[in-house]
Symmetry: C2
Subunit: 347 residues, 2 copies
């Protein structure tokens, strides 16, 4: 029941009007030219030295008549839709949803609306998003490149279409990418696991042809080297699913006699590992210890506390919009923006 603060917008007028009111209508009502009305309503009356009296009359009348600019006419005239498109992998995942929220807020700040699209790993849907861009339904696109759609993005770039990538960069494509510094996340994870000295260090995650997993493993191994520690196991799964992770983790639990310190560098492998712990009757943190990647809702209510490396999702969306808007303004933009993750320790 709380009421809201924030936008001190112009109030919505109570005046009906089946056919929307145009500038022309306001002008006729006042016996002025449509041009003058435009000058006033677009706030350029200073530039054109409209008399204060006229300005006042125009404002009043426009308000009274319930005038609203026709956004389509304005967009058409300016050849700008004032809309951006955000094409994310999976909206039902809080990671992507959080990004959409951050992006929407930033887009709003710049006067753009945001069209959010759900790609679901489908190259066809990504192509449709590019088509929207090509047809000027949106002025720019933020896209998390889908597997199998890299060529389309390369072509789009060749066509001069403005977009920025998030989370994953298409190899060899000279367009900006905003993502988390996964390697840095792995460093945080390993340091956390190394608090306890007696543990067998285990890494488990997805295939290395996915750059995300590649980066996470790289960061992990470099930090191992720096720490002078050997990993007991580096598990690179063919697919980063909960099922694969569970199976593999159960085997590891049988084999190892030392308590494990697991870095499950992906949400689903984390879930799989936790299921394995439960199946094996292990307890955290006595028998096993685990760090996952990406925040988990209600983590405190899980059987096993999971420390997580959290991406700053809102910031990714925000930065992506910032870059895109800058790009649309014709400025040069950074090729890559790496955002630092942070650790949320749970015991």
């Amino acid at each position: 029941m709380k009421d809201s603060p924030e936008p001190p917008d112009q109030p919505i007028p109570a005046v009906p009007g089946l056919r929307p009111i145009r500038m022309k209508d306001v002008a006729e009502q006042l016996g002025l030219s449509q041009t003058t009305v435009s000058h006033v309503l677009t706030g350029k009356h200073a530039r054109y030295r409209i008399s204060a009296a006229t300005v006042e009359r125009v404002w009043k009348t426009a308000e009274k008549m319930g005038y609203r600019v026709n956004a389509m006419a304005r967009a058409f005239r300016a050849q700008k839709s004032y809309a951006l498109s955000l094409a994310v992998e999976d909206l039902s995942n809080p990671f992507w949803a959080g990004m959409a929220i951050g992006a929407e807020r930033e887009a709003d700040r710049h006067g753009y609306s945001l069209v959010v699209t759900h790609l679901a790993g489908n190259a066809g849907r990504q192509r449709r998003a590019l088509q929207f861009l090509h047809e000027s339904r949106v002025d720019g696109l933020i896209v998390s490149p889908v597997c199998g759609g890299d060529r389309d993005l390369v072509v789009a770039h060749a066509q001069g279409l403005p977009f920025v990538q998030i989370d994953r960069a298409v190899p060899g494509l000279d367009m900006p990418c905003v993502r988390t510094d996964h390697a840095a996340g792995s460093v945080l994870a390993l340091r956390h696991l190394l608090r306890r000295k007696d543990r067998a260090i285990v890494y488990i995650s997805g295939p290395l042809d996915v750059p995300t997993y590649r980066h996470r493993l790289d960061g992990f191994q470099e930090e191992l080297k720096r720490s002078g520690v050997e990993a007991a196991a580096i598990e690179v799964l063919k697919e980063a699913t909960a099922e694969h992770a569970e199976t593999r983790m159960i085997k590891l639990l049988e084999r190892q006699r030392r308590p494990l310190a697991v870095y499950a560098a992906n949400f689903f492998t984390t879930v799989g590992a936790l299921r394995a712990f439960r199946a094996a009757g292990k307890a955290v943190p006595d028998d096993v210890d685990i760090v996952g990647f990406d925040d988990i809702l209600m983590a405190d209510l899980l059987r096993y506390p999971v420390t997580t490396v959290d991406q700053n999702v809102g910031a990714i969306g925000r930065e992506a919009v910032r870059l895109l808007v800058k790009m649309l303004a014709g400025a040069e933009v950074e090729r890559a923006v790496l955002l630092p993750p942070h650790l949320t320790a749970r015991t």
Copy 2:
């Protein structure tokens, strides 16, 4: 690494073009009038009896030149933006995100794009969404009415703006609303809890001036009557937060000696109840039993298994879009659409 099936779209042409190609360009290239090109490209060549040869030439050339319709010009001309707006309470909540996905899919089916907005309980943001509608940035709006913004929606309706409500209907507003049949959900919940005969039945949820909670409690009490069972406690919290629920539930656990069968008719009260169980060292299902409302991610990994009444979120989004599109086509639409929830039992 899976490749995608689905849309058999026209391929994106590899032809660059800094200045986008217009119909005029295609026409000049062919020595035809722009009109003829339009006739062909909009698929109306039959109506205008364009010769098959010409049709063919136009298609080929347009493709070769990399022609794309300018969506803004088309929208302007048609006075339709071909975009709908979805204004949801909270995108970071999987409930609303799922709705957005369903809505986007359906909008797409009808040739509309979907602008998703995050209201965050803010009446100002809801007003902005209405402004977008008023300015024809979008053709229609789907909105989950924000507390404190009811008047704005009433005014918008008076202005003849097309929108549909989801999840909550503004009292006295004669516009369609799509939502879950909450009362039916409560029936499912109670029947589930009554499997075990020895339990003290407890209802806990938010304030009754929120229609959602009102409906849920109503359905619960009616089913109690039908079953001839008395509830041990009906807890109506002032605020449906995890904190309030936890405090209250701890008191209940102290007072009751029989095992509890709890219906926590809201996500946050569910979380609060679970925290209370943990604090009191209770075990599910021996000491307590719980049914919550709305799906919980990774529910199987929780300390306590929670059976949930799940809303068909995708269907809500889909139905809302369907109604809105129908409305925009000038047809009469249902005032209210109630969607049945279903139970996901977990032990």
